[in-house]
Amino acid sequence: MKRPRIVVGIKWVPNTQAVRFDPKTGTLIREGVPSIVNPHDLDAIELALKTREKYGGEIIVVTMAPPGAEEGLRHVIGMGVDRAILVSDRVFAGSDTLATSYTLAKTIERIGRVDLVFFGQETIDSSTAHIPAQVASWLDLPYIYYVESIEKLELKENKVVVKRKLEDRYEWYEVELPVVIGVAMHSNPPRPISLTNKLRAVTEKPIEVWTNKQLGLDPRCIGLRGSPTIVSKVTWQPEIPRKRKIYQGNPKEAVKWLIKHLEEEKVLP
């Protein structure tokens, strides 16, 4: 019987929660901030693992990142992923979403037969949510996002039914394979690392590194040269200083006092 091959794209990002704020200088302290697997991508890994539990098959994780990302790949192998590919080469540096998605699409093509391509909903460091849609475009595949679960997978008939979560409703889609799926954030809380899987990550070396030697992509389409995006300006939102007003007294008076102050500050109309 045919088993599904699932590719999951993950991104290695700075842990924005560990980035601390220096109250004195008002700047962000980035030094020593460890990188992590984009948390929303772990939902995609989890959904892939659940799918494999039900239908069998193989899960291959792909990330385009500097060599340090191997740690993140070991993390998801520790969760149970079968193989990992680290797409890493100096020539990919400076990629915007277009160049990133192009490189990822070509990587996926090179993997061979793939039935499902999973991505996280968005990243915590750039949050464009461009990548999955762009990868789908490059590969000329359908793309469904905010997906919560795989309801039915029929490889023989070459189709899948997915459940999509929106603000006020659920939707079910039946689509032809292969398909690119953006997994809804918080929809599939990741399982913990398993000892034997983590051991496999360390002892069996299931991580391959692909450079542009393997991929052979046109230098005009990758890295800085392949990135038409121009960042013209970035500003930080100014911090609103706290008013540091504390009311002491009974609740009834306090409510009145609070409303009065909120009106004065034009928080309430």
Binding site: D22, G78, S194, L199, V202, T203
Partner: protein, 427 residues
Amino acid sequence: MATKFDAIVVGAGPAGATAAYKLAEAGIKTLLVERGRGRGSKQVFGGRIYVTPVREVFPDVEKTAPIHRWVKREKISILHNSRILSLEYESPEKHSFTTYLTEFTSWIVDKAINAGAVYVDEVRVDSIVEEDGRITGIEAGGERIEASIVIDAEGVNRLLLEKLGLAERLSPEEVALGAKEVIKVGADKINERFGLEEDSGLAWLLVGEPTDYLPGGAFIYTNRDSVSIGVVVYLATAVKKAREEIYRLVEKLRLHPQLRQYWEDGDIIEYSAHLTIESGRRFMPRKLATSGLIVVGDAAGLLLNTGYTFRGVDYAVYSGYLAAEAAKKAFNLGDFSEETLRENYEKKLLGSFIAKDLRNHTGVEQIMHEVEFFEKYPVVAIDTARKLFELGYETPRIQEALRSSLKTHHINLLSFLYKMFKMVRKL
């Protein structure tokens, strides 16, 4: 799972990493399991390591370890009422060094990996498996891995030993809480502000104001280009008497008007907190080995707090080394029984400088619990010094200055002298 190991070490602190390295070096198939991410991410210490025992285990320590500065100046100070009374000591010898524990542990973990140990991070061991009165392996997330011998190096919060019935649950009386900040200042500024040479460092212990007059101590260590500052308070007294959270104490230390000049305009690059053992001797488990198991480092109660310095990391390294030696013997004999392991590990450890230190310093621990000692004596000392040094018309004799300070604080001279005598004897 096909992989089998001869030895499993739980916890990659200085104790566990050393044990794993020495085992792997001897060709024993070793697994080192750590619950934190990466290397050393879960470990916290004040700032200095005594080199002599470490050198015996790692002869290359001076050449290859991540040494920040050699401690050539020791300083002990009482702070109160905008006054500082200090004792300072300087020596050209290299007896101890400052570093980041994370870096130091990584250095040992790397050695272990290079020697052939398998290192697995991000996995918390749930239990050490006991079958028919014998330790047979570990369990994590419902998965088991077997080994002939397990080395428990889980540190102060020894949940695994508790499960095995080899240690009691932690009680507040047994532990102290430490909190610390690392402030990046720059090497040149450190040299200039503390008056230090390129690679020489300062270990500074403070009582009084910085600990809010609670039993414990505050510390300042100079690293290569940063300063570690922190506070350690005894949990039992802190719970009863503390007026502020411990992190507030560290913040107050950082903002102290007479101290902040040293790290002015530096960046806080790390904040951490950790438990530590209060009395190593009382904390020691009934036995340090059972059939198939050896306990090392903090988990074995190997920590000394003399009131003016900490020793834990060098003890951890040394005990890890002794454990590996005992395990090697056990592999040679093919005998992992409790008798053999206790004979070759526990007996060696109890006969070593570590156990001698712990026995020798039990008295200090009692002093560390006398609230008076931290609440009133720093104040008396500063008051006396003030009377002696800040002269107006009259010039009091030392005795007069002391007497009148004691009187102001309602302390009886005799009881004071008796306590001082007792203290000197215990120190």
